[in-house]
């Protein structure tokens, strides 16, 4: 179905800390793929494997495997720490960012059109063009466009949208962002 030229969907919404954390984590996953915990933990495990492979040589030359074993153990522990702690660290960081900006928690009205979004609240009124953002992620709960000019993230909650509206916005954003549009949690 072709995208309508005059699509315009207006939604009132109020963001919560949980919404922001969900959007932050989803966007970070796609905007900074090298910072994913699987990649970081993988790098540490590779280093651990390399260090472990030097144990026989270490035994042969120095009659002790302690240096290689220590490096191997440290890399494995680091991988485990990254795997288990990174989600919590990311969420805490997102919560801190959200709490530091009371403007984000204000009730607002977001109007989405094919080219841009207009956000209106009691204190602010701004327009963001889709071309200003670097990436857009759709999750089962929300749409999040990242690295905007006015605000780092533009979030649109699906719970405030009718299914038809959500589908129309999804098509519109997929067209506007093309290869920079990601859909998760299907």
């Amino acid at each position: 179905m072709p995208i309508q030229n005059k699509m315009s969907v207006a939604v009132p919404q109020t963001l919560t800390e949980k919404d922001y954390c969900t959007a932050y984590c989803a966007v970070k996953r796609f905007a900074f793929p090298r910072q994913r915990r699987s990649i970081r933990a993988g790098i540490c495990l590779t280093a651990a494997a390399l260090a472990a492979s030097t144990i026989p040589a270490c035994l042969n030359f120095y009659r002790t495997a302690v240096p290689s074993a220590v490096i191997t153990a440290a890399a494995v522990i680091l991988a485990a720490l990254i795997w288990f702690l990174q989600p919590a660290v990311d969420s805490r960081r997102a919560a801190a960012v959200f709490r530091s900006c009371p403007l984000m928690a204000q009730p607002c009205r977001v109007t989405v059109t094919r080219d841009h979004a207009v956000v209106q609240s009691k204190y602010e009124n701004y327009t963001e063009y889709w071309t200003d953002f670097s990436v857009c992620v759709e999750t089962p709960e929300l749409f999040a466009a990242a690295c905007g000019r006015q605000r780092d993230m533009l979030i649109l909650k699906k719970q405030d949208l009718a299914p038809k509206q959500a589908a129309a916005i999804s098509r519109c954003l997929a067209g506007a962002f093309a290869l920079r549009y990601y859909k998760t949690g299907r």
């Binding site: 801190a96 530091s100 900006c101 403007l103 204190y123 602010e124 009124n125 701004y126 000019r149």
Partner: protein, 182 residues
């Protein structure tokens, strides 16, 4: 009282000063002091190693180089990197809205650009920062607006400072503006 209103377009120098101020405002004083203490410790260690006439004189040289770097070169180098990145961002057009009008009212600050209009009470600002060349108004931890001081005359600068001091109290930090730039 009449609000203080400025209308300006961001220049390359303004943007670089703003980014530098932002980096400085994000650095905790304790971090700076810790780096200096560690630098002094390394220099003392270098002298101690020299005095004890250790055979590993390279260790003393490394400690001395590290100490000098931390004490005298680390900060200027970081500032140079920030300024260089800011210049690159400005030239690539990644500096946000270049022209804006900012109005400091008694109870709120108003921003107006081509695509943004905000009337934000001082209490909703996360913090404010002033150095020798700019005022930074943080609407959140990750977002701030920069007002170059060149756009304000002395009298209006004083009025803005007084407004921010009285409305934001401890959330307004003045760095270096009175010690070495004036």
């Amino acid at each position: 009282m009449e609000p203080v209103t400025v209308n300006f377009a961001m220049t390359r120098d303004d943007y670089m000063s703003g980014q530098l101020a932002r980096a400085k405002s994000g650095t905790a004083r304790t971090e700076t002091i810790a780096v200096k203490i560690f630098g002094i410790f390394l220099i003392l260690l270098a002298f101690l190693l020299l005095l004890t006439r250790t055979t590993q004189s390279w260790l003393s040289a490394v400690a001395m180089a590290g100490g000098i770097f931390l004490l005298f070169l680390c900060r200027p180098l970081l500032h140079a990197i920030v300024r260089r990145k800011a210049a690159d961002d400005f030239e690539a057009g990644r500096c946000g809205m270049p022209a804006q009008t900012v109005s400091f009212d008694n109870d709120r600050v108003c921003f107006r650009t081509e695509r943004y209009e905000g009337h934000i009470p001082y209490g909703m600002l996360a913090r404010a920062y002033e150095d020798g060349s700019v005022f930074l108004l943080f609407t959140g931890e990750d977002e701030c607006r920069c007002i170059p001081k060149r756009t304000l005359d002395k009298q209006n600068q004083k009025r803005v400072e007084d407004l921010l001091k009285s409305r934001m109290k401890q959330k307004f930090v003045q760095e270096g503006a009175h010690e070495w730039t004036k």
